[in-house]
Symmetry: C2
Subunit: 517 residues, 2 copies
Amino acid sequence: MNDIFAPARGHQSAEAKLNELKRRLLEISDLGSASAVLSWDQATYMPKGGAPARGRQGAILRKLAHERSVDPALGKLLDALEPYAAALPQDSDDACLIRVARRDFEKAIKLPPEFVARFNEHGSASYDAWIRARPANDFAAVLPFLEKTLDFSRDYAEFFAPYAHIADPMIDDADEGMTTAVIRALFSELHAELVPMVRAISEQPPANDACLRGTFDERAQLEFSRAVITQMGYDFERGRLDKTHHPFCTRFSTGDVRITTRVRENDLGDALFSTIHEAGHALYEQGVNSALDGTPLGCGASAGVHESQSRLWENTVARSLGFWKHFYPALQGAFPGQFKSVALETFYRTINKVERSLIRTDADEVTYNLHIMLRFELELKLLEGKLRAKDLPEAWRAAMQSDLGIAPPDDRNGCLQDVHWYAGTIGGAFQSYTIGNILSAQFHAAAVHAHPEIPREIENGKFSTLHAWLRDNIYRHGHKYPPNEIIKRATGGPMSMRPYLAYLQGKYGALYRLPPE
Amino acid sequence: MNDIFAPARGHQSAEAKLNELKRRLLEISDLGSASAVLSWDQATYMPKGGAPARGRQGAILRKLAHERSVDPALGKLLDALEPYAAALPQDSDDACLIRVARRDFEKAIKLPPEFVARFNEHGSASYDAWIRARPANDFAAVLPFLEKTLDFSRDYAEFFAPYAHIADPMIDDADEGMTTAVIRALFSELHAELVPMVRAISEQPPANDACLRGTFDERAQLEFSRAVITQMGYDFERGRLDKTHHPFCTRFSTGDVRITTRVRENDLGDALFSTIHEAGHALYEQGVNSALDGTPLGCGASAGVHESQSRLWENTVARSLGFWKHFYPALQGAFPGQFKSVALETFYRTINKVERSLIRTDADEVTYNLHIMLRFELELKLLEGKLRAKDLPEAWRAAMQSDLGIAPPDDRNGCLQDVHWYAGTIGGAFQSYTIGNILSAQFHAAAVHAHPEIPREIENGKFSTLHAWLRDNIYRHGHKYPPNEIIKRATGGPMSMRPYLAYLQGKYGALYRLPPE
């Protein structure tokens, strides 16, 4: 009798353990969300006087979440659940949950707490130094911090040894399963195409973007952006749009995914495309199956896959001619003074103006990747010991000159421009942006392949077919599958450069009348 | 040698313990503040879809704070600090901190965790039932909950036995050191004065408040309110004003004390006086010595003393003729259509209209106390067993008829109108409002006694002398002293009814040409 009932009892006990696992993960998730609410408030509405206490209040929540995420009892629970997970279908929610929770736990416990504390402390000091050094154009002031960050980054990687390349552990943090070797190969293919393309475009007369530079009433800008993203499918019953200095998307639950934007009265494109970009991230988060809420599966799959969605909506969709066939009359109605006498095609050329420039965040769709690949190569060289931190400004200028044909006159517009190396690790910080660009075209092509009517629908302001395809093939899965599996499930193959190159050549070849490949 | 150094070593160790105490209290305070940020967001900007997760996120923070506040290690620390505290000057920050922390701890550990859990669960269920029952006018639906709340309230009091009256423990929670006996005596004095005063006023022709009932642009209302409270001294660098359904004041630190208000386009008085009321609470919290921040001393002294400040600013100051001598021209400028042909004296009569009405929160300054005292007497009778919960509606109507000369036609406008008994204990819920009224006059009189120029200054829109007196005598001390000590320090004597009666008789005697006492 005992033997007969043993499996059932064993099963029951595994279910109790699974519930205990979910209870623990929910607590970690809720503490993380509470901390995210505090950060959102700090970036949107907090009065100046709230800053000192807010720093402390966020830190205690993060500390409590971290303590729970490395609790040995969590590890024991995961060990005990292994046989149960092995018996489940591999793509069931629970099997994926146990796999992802185990991965997170094992990564987290590899880092000694005192290392995490020292690195966080250094990160804050380095960030403070950078905040002062950037406007002062003072690379020397951040150099000692950068050198120490490089040491910390190498030590960080060492905790995850063995690895094929020293950057792999950091890349894996952001884009699980991607490696330096794979990304280098992809990027080198892209680099070989882009450098001549940018050169050829530069030889054309530049597009005139004067129509974007008038004076645009802030309220009218925000209203127009709200109308556009509502039509795209962003759900305001489960989100908000507010103003901040740096636009971002944040998630407190499937039911509360907020975005922020920045409005410049003299630049229509800034708020509009930033808002659409963040709405792309938000559509992803709002589309995650709500059954995964409060678990490590209840968010996007990786930094690169996430970026693919902001880029797909911002660039592939909202910088297309078809999109503006629908929205341009409304834009003309909202800002008649600026656009009444500007033809649709002129506007379309304007929002796709390609220009060799110094600042990554202002770069257009084509040159943007050159900015990223330059940073990616430099951080690999720093980690490999082939470039010393003190030689970074010079290496930056040389790479800019070689790739983009222009070089920054100072470090403020050069290697001091991005926060990433001054507030986190060196390595793993930049590749996700270009992975996102590559995947945006690959996912878009797969959606159009499945539903050839999508481009026509977009010309009529209808986004539901595209949105539903993305939700069914990407969004709803949340973090259930690693990026490479999501890509394979959605597109039938591995990450590929082809759709992205075809997209760029098709679009910019036509815009700039480039010779066909 | 050892003996000589022993006291110094003992002292050092006490200081280390004091730091450990402060560290623990800071963590409890930060968790409480984080939870307050979540509540503020929920009441102001959270989209509908965020509600389910937000409930959980707030609950985990409150649970973590509560666990820390009843940690036996905290009790041991407080025990160990007793001799150190005894040697400090009694009114030093540290001696007061240890006293208040010990009081909080001892109160908290008297309640068994399972009782707290059961009572909280019942409170939520009761609140949900009330939310549905009030609009449906369905007292029968909440009666079983109310009966259980009465049992819970008696059990609650029992944990703090012995007591002189069963309501004393609940009253002490809100207004430390106050007792049923003291409040009954005060209230009976006030009741004896108010009932005939309200009767006499009712025999006068009613004030015409038509000028408050036009249509008032929401933005203009908010702008006017902002301007008024800024001039009063509310610091927007350390606070904000936002819209909510129910106005409130909340504090995340001395540097971040926010208020909310509610705007009705057809009622000027609602937003204006609600905003000033909440700004009164906020001036108190913004005025607490910032050295007390993050400790149990870093907030107001008690519910009654807090209410004295909202009432002092709302009623004593902002419903005075002198206040409007200064602000009325600006109000006429902001709303010329409504006020251009209304004389200052008419406006002054209007905002001080006395009217026998059914709803506490809409009541004027004079009748308001009758609403409170009625509730106070009923909750004492319920606790004493002299009134059964099922007989509450009838007892309510009888008391309304006897005190105010009108009785509610239904329970929605009677004993179902306030949330207090349906979401917390019976007992301790209402007395603070009238204590606040009494103290508002007593503090105001003391300030004017010290600075007779205050009324003239207010006529010129200058609030700094009054504000500074309140800050120096009340605000800066935070929760250092119990209410009775604050009152004695600020006014030189115990809580007294005299200034409040003098204020009411002076102001309303003149307004309604009542015969002098």
